[in-house]
């Protein structure tokens, strides 16, 4: 097992593991940025840096890397790569070399993002990169554009690959109604990526053209328009939250079904109503990010209705989850704790999103810590919990070994307490008026205590995440043998040996008439 073999691998499982290592590294870096920001905000005035730009660079890196370098690659890179071919009984993906290219591009993108710390004028445009600031700052906007373009491209070619794989490489007997929920969710996410990433690519290319090549797409004094960028950006970036949401809720479905040993509740409702509904609505709600941006009033009202309607498919997916728990046989393993954690975090995040769907309420809390708290609950933290739970769940498959349950559960509980301290308080100060993206809050001295609590919470959750990552590393080195199917799941990935060999199955699998990935049997 040498390094060269890994770098030039075309095996989907190794590509997946490379994605996992890269995205967890990205998570660690972006997490350290979060801790630095929390340290800075723990007192009014300068705390650990006297330079606001330094804070802005941390915030830029945190947001951009968490989304583009951690969550999207972990979900559509690692989980998709590792699980989809195994779940559909394929030997590999349809285009293994293209797959290798996508993970290389991902590493190029992550390295570009990390170069932020070594170039003289790092980008300070926030992960949204809004002009006019992004076209006049001394910060390096090109770096931002290229990072986004490369990571976006890596993801698009992954999308083509997986749609083809699932369409043509399913083992005999695996009909569309016998696909794992995770497979459906990830396919939907890739469809969204294929449709919307090009729009993001356009948007970020145009700001660099404006800044460096003298075009005027966003400069109104020369016939451009500022708002166009925001429309383009969110036309992608709202669907992007479903690109995160769909696979992570898919992971949660897999965990809950396997550890409750129960069939997924109303499978067709989840697939067609939930996943399908989200795909249909994803492109019609972006204006809810622009409720106070100066858009036409009729658009704000129109998209209030579509945004509220998102509650329908998302609600159906929640019903599916709860229904799967109901009458199950729930083992409180570490992956299950994370999955249940997602259910409760997502509940808080989803419900606190309802007022944000209403422009007249958003007019008060837009761009405050209320929004930051809300989206950490609903996407950032819920998604991260799903990722951590998923890594624990498939850990025995990947390594053939078992992680340590005690440390796993301890890590979960510490993180769970920490995130609720940070993000609950965050929503509270937001409603009281604390705006986001502030290096300092000198004119809001009343919030200092709350900020200190948030910093404490961040330190607590960092301990929890560290325990989890150490648990994986130690478990991979000297965990106890886990056997091929420790959870007793009929889902196909558990029917091969752990870890699966190159080609996945000694002989090509086929499934019987009454097989179903969620058909749990006694014994």
């Amino acid at each position: 097992m040498n390094l060269k073999e890994w770098i030039f691998t075309t095996d989907h499982k190794r590509v997946g593991v490379l994605y996992l290592i890269g995205s967890i590294a990205a998570f660690a870096v972006a997490g350290i940025m979060a801790l630095l920001m929390r340290a800075e905000l723990s007192t009014i005035g300068p705390t650990i840096t006297a330079n606001p730009t330094q804070y802005n660079v941390w915030l830029y890196t945190h947001g951009a890397v968490m989304i583009l370098g951690f969550q999207i690659p972990a979900l559509t890179g690692f989980f998709a790569n590792y699980c989809i071919p195994l779940m559909i009984g394929a030997k590999d993906v349809a285009f293994p070399r293209v797959n290798a290219l996508s993970v290389w591009l991902f590493y190029v993108g992550v390295i570009l993002a990390l170069l932020t710390f070594f170039i003289p004028d790092p980008p300070d445009v926030m992960w949204t990169g809004y002009p006019p600031y992004s076209t006049i700052t001394t910060g390096n906007t090109a770096m931002y554009s290229f990072t986004v373009l490369i990571l976006g491209f890596a993801s698009i070619i992954g999308g083509v690959n997986f749609l083809t794989t699932v369409a043509y490489m399913r083992a005999p007997g695996i009909t569309l109604n016998k696909l794992n929920i995770f497979v459906w969710c990830t396919l939907a996410a890739f469809v969204l990526q294929l449709i919307f990433v090009p729009v993001l690519g356009t948007a970020v290319s145009l700001i660099s053209m404006d800044k460096y090549l003298g075009t005027n797409f966003f400069d109104p004094t020369k016939g451009g328009d500022v708002l166009t960028y925001q429309n383009l950006f969110w036309f992608y970036s709202h669907p992007a939250v479903y690109v995160i949401f769909l696979p992570f809720i898919g992971v949660v479905y897999e965990i809950i079904a396997a550890h409750a040993k129960n069939m997924v509740f109303n499978y067709k409702m989840v697939v067609y109503g939930g996943v399908g509904g989200i795909v249909l609505l994803a492109g019609e709600v972006w204006v809810h990010h622009l409720y106070v941006s100066g858009m036409a009033d009729w658009l704000r009202i129109g998209q209030m209705v579509t945004t509220l309607m998102i509650s329908i498919p998302v609600g159906l997916m929640m019903i599916g989850l709860i229904g799967t728990l109901y009458k199950g046989s729930i083992a409180f393993t570490t992956p299950m704790l994370y999955a249940l954690g997602v259910v409760f975090l997502f509940l808080i995040g989803g419900l606190t999103g309802i007022p944000l769907a209403v422009p007249s309420l958003t007019i008060g809390v837009s761009d405050t810590y209320y929004v930051v708290g809300h989206f950490h609950y609903v996407m950032a933290v819920a998604g991260t919990f799903a990722i951590f739970g998923g890594v624990y769940h498939w850990f025995p498959k990947m390594t053939g070994k078992m992680y340590n349950e005690f440390w796993g559960k301890l890590g979960f509980w510490i993180t769970f307490v920490g995130v609720n301290i940070v993000f609950w308080i965050m929503m509270d100060v937001g409603v009281k008026g604390m705006p986001r993206r502030y290096y300092d809050y000198a004119h809001f001295p009343q919030f200092e205590g709350a900020h200190q609590w948030m910093t404490v919470g961040a330190a607590i959750l960092a301990v929890g995440f560290t325990i989890a990552i150490l648990n994986w590393i130690l478990g991979a080195i000297n965990g106890k043998p886990a056997g091929d199917n420790p959870w007793g799941s009929p889902s196909l990935e558990w029917t091969t040996v752990s870890p699966p060999p190159h080609g996945n199955w000694p002989s090509p699998p086929s499934v019987s008439e009454d097989w179903h990935p969620y058909g749990f049997k006694k014994g």
């Binding site: 109303n266 509650s311 007249s360 309420l361 300092d440």
Partner: protein, 265 residues
Amino acid sequence: MKGKRMHDTIKRAAAGLAALFLTVPAWAAGGAKAAAATPDPARDWDLLWNEVIFDITIIGILFAIVTAWFIWQARRRPGNEVGASVPLSPASAVGWVVIPIFVFLSIDLYTAANGWVLWNTFRDVPANRMEIKLEAGMYSWDYTYPNGVRTQNELVVPAGTPIVLRMTSRDTLHSHYIPDFRVKEDSMPGRITYLWFNPTKPGEHIVTCAEYCGVMHGYMAGRIIVKAPEEYAAWMKGEETRLAALTAPEPAPAAKPAKPAAKKT
């Protein structure tokens, strides 16, 4: 037999929800009664906000309790080694889609209707307003009164007069956010946006920038000082004299006095 009962239940529930659904316009209209006096968007915002927060809290708690109960009931223990769910009948499978859709949709439309009423309050500027121009820039708020008086980072207004800001920016995006009045709107080059608020009684309110605009974004703050109308008139007199002194060489153009000042004298 069982299928029939199920069917009836679904029918009854659907009828009830349809009724709820149809009353939405009526509920929405209910919100629009206090039309006579100058509306107070900040107060209406608090009412709707508190209502929505109350509702989601109830939903959240109920949902959490039910879920926790399910989880506890379904814990793995001797005699419960494997899940006991059975496939749904076609009727209940469809019911589990249709009924939730009705429930969610009626909540959505009810919320939307109320949100729309409040939206109109925030966007329909009262006729007795004072119009003030705002130019935002890195990093200050520059106000211009109808009579040409200018101030920076401090907007003095008379209590009882609705104030509308016509906003633009000379450089990057900014967002004029007044937490006490629950209102903000971005300003940008090349477009004029607006917001209005109703300062009902004398006092001071923070203005803070809510759209990332550059390095000093966090320091881009100002104040709105609401004075009793007489005090405001006196302050405005002083400012006008100052302005006149500044522009003395050329005869002052017939500066229109601010409307509320005219009303009071």
